[in-house]
């Protein structure tokens, strides 16, 4: 079924980016973190809270809802709220849904945020897994995301010959970017030997395959493309936003392919672009393997070649250091980095002439769905 896209492409833009500090203990509530990031994003855009008529987030019961943040900031016209249940799979759909609301005229200025104390308060994987599939996994001591990713990483290694060194080169490259990122939590360079010497977390994944646990927040201002052009920064247009897709990992006939493979053609068609047009990719990296499988499923290389492709480093990936080295804000910091790259404000880690960026959510292993965005410089 071919769907007509009625006026979504490039109709909306990201006009502001805001962060709190990333740390292991923020010492404040997620409500405070959310407010701080929202205000920072508005200031970056040259706007104030009085301009905001929408707020959007996603949560897994671990953070402040829009209905809490709105009154806390004294929003005068809260016309549109989105409080999406979910973790990394839905991180990019939040911005997509905000863009839909703005494109449809339901709201004009929506701030998307994610605020977590994922180190000091609500560590990921500690809440009970609400999926009924957990009952077939938990009795074997198989419950944590790192264990699931380790299982799929090994399946990929067995099927395609992907090697530890491929994971390692990716971790080393992302750390090298983080060294150039003042916001990053991990700024000491690592080598492939350091990677190979790091301890097992769930074999075949090592410590340096894993994301950080972070206290912090990030926020993005979404408004119309016209309005964004009148604001402080070059407008970064939302060319495409897609979500959904995927098979249950317990019913998948090929666990080395993710929901991203189903989503990618829809995403590219929305933007009228393809993988060859992407200058920089900020890909959800809860673990190194997540990047490798997405390089395949988003069409940058053939199925099975993600390991060597990642190790070769020909495509700039996770230029902020990603979850592995910048910090873990559940996906929104990947979108924020894409915006910085397209504005040309990424300083020492700037990809020269970056015009088009792909940013993605958890590709569909822990929950069988994903979401992604294509952004471009106006």
């Amino acid at each position: 079924m071919t769907k007509r896209l009625l006026g979504f492409r490039d109709r909306t833009a990201v006009a502001g980016v805001g962060y709190t500090a990333f740390s292991k203990n923020s010492g404040v509530s997620t409500l405070t973190l959310a407010c701080e990031a929202v205000l920072a994003a508005l200031a970056d855009a040259g706007l104030t809270a009085d301009d905001v008529d929408g707020l959007a987030t996603h949560r897994v019961g671990d953070s402040a809802a829009p209905s809490l943040v709105g009154p806390a900031l004294g929003l005068r016209a809260p016309a549109w709220y989105l409080d999406q249940f979910g973790g990394g799979s839905v991180s990019h759909s939040v911005l997509g849904q905000a863009a839909l609301a703005v494109a449809a005229g339901l709201a004009e200025t929506v701030v998307c945020y994610r605020a977590i104390n994922a180190r000091s308060e609500f560590r990921m994987g500690q809440a009970p897994n609400p999926s009924p599939e957990a009952q077939y996994q938990v009795p074997y001591g198989y419950a944590a995301p790192v264990q699931m990713y380790a299982m799929y990483a090994r399946a990929h290694m067995l099927k395609y010959g992907t090697k530890a060194e491929h994971f390692g080169e990716l971790a080393v490259a992302q750390r090298a970017y983080a060294v150039k990122n003042p916001r990053a939590m991990m700024r000491t360079p690592i080598t492939l030997d350091d990677y190979l010497a790091s301890r097992w977390i769930a074999e075949p994944l090592r410590l340096f395959d894993c994301c950080l646990e972070t206290d912090g927040a990030c926020a993005l201002v979404v408004t119309t493309a016209e309005r964004a052009r009148d604001l402080r920064h070059p407008a970064v247009l939302i060319s495409a936003a897609a979500w959904g897709g995927g098979e249950s990992p317990l019913s998948s006939t090929d666990v080395t392919t993710t929901a991203a493979a189903e989503l990618a053609p829809r995403l590219y068609a929305q933007a009228g672009l393809g993988p060859a047009d992407i200058d920089v990719a900020e890909l959800y990296d809860c673990f190194t393997y997540s990047v490798i499988v997405q390089l395949e499923d988003y069409g940058f290389c053939a199925k099975g070649d993600g390991g060597p492709f990642a190790a070769a480093g020909t495509l700039p990936v996770n230029t902020h250091g990603g979850f592995l080295s910048e910090g873990y804000v559940h996906g929104i910091n990947h979108i924020a980095e894409a915006v910085s790259q397209l504005r040309g404000t990424a300083a020492d880690r700037q990809v020269p002439g970056a015009q088009v960026a792909l940013s993605t959510a958890q590709p569909g292993y822990v929950l069988p769905a994903t979401s992604a965005l294509i952004l471009r410089r106006s």
Partner: protein, 124 residues
């Protein structure tokens, strides 16, 4: 742990019976347990005994023990997990069979190498 869709599956496992749901209309086998057939959307189904044989697809070593992920030979879209208690690592693609591990209030699966039928010892 069990829910309203899965309680009978766990009860069967407790009796050392290895079953999955079979669609009464199109015959498609499914696991985990749920009301509707994803192939034809029928809600008519029956428990169906299948050979408790699978192939190793992947494994992890976590906190000193090995967890395997296997694919049923009877249905390629049925993925299960289980303990691995052999002194050696699993081999990719190797055939395994169910051994039932009884705890106080639940029975879980250990996957063991080979096909016990070939040895004439039955499924336990």
């Amino acid at each position: 742990m069990a829910d309203r869709d899965s309680a009978q599956w766990w009860e069967a496992l407790r009796r050392h019976e290895f079953v999955v749901q079979g669609c009464a209309d199109c015959g498609r086998l499914r696991f985990p347990s749920r009301a509707y057939c994803a192939g034809c959307r029928s809600r008519s189904w029956r428990w169906q005994a299948v050979e408790p044989l699978a192939r190793i697809e992947s494994w992890i070593v976590t906190r000193g023990h090995t967890v395997v992920m296997v694919r049923l030979e009877a249905a390629a879209d049925c993925v299960l997990y289980g303990h691995w208690r052999q002194p050696r690592a699993p081999r990719p693609g190797e055939q395994v069979h169910v051994a039932y591990e009884d705890a106080d209030d639940v029975t879980v699966i250990e996957w063991r190498p080979g096909n016990t039928l070939a040895g004439g010892r039955g499924w336990n």
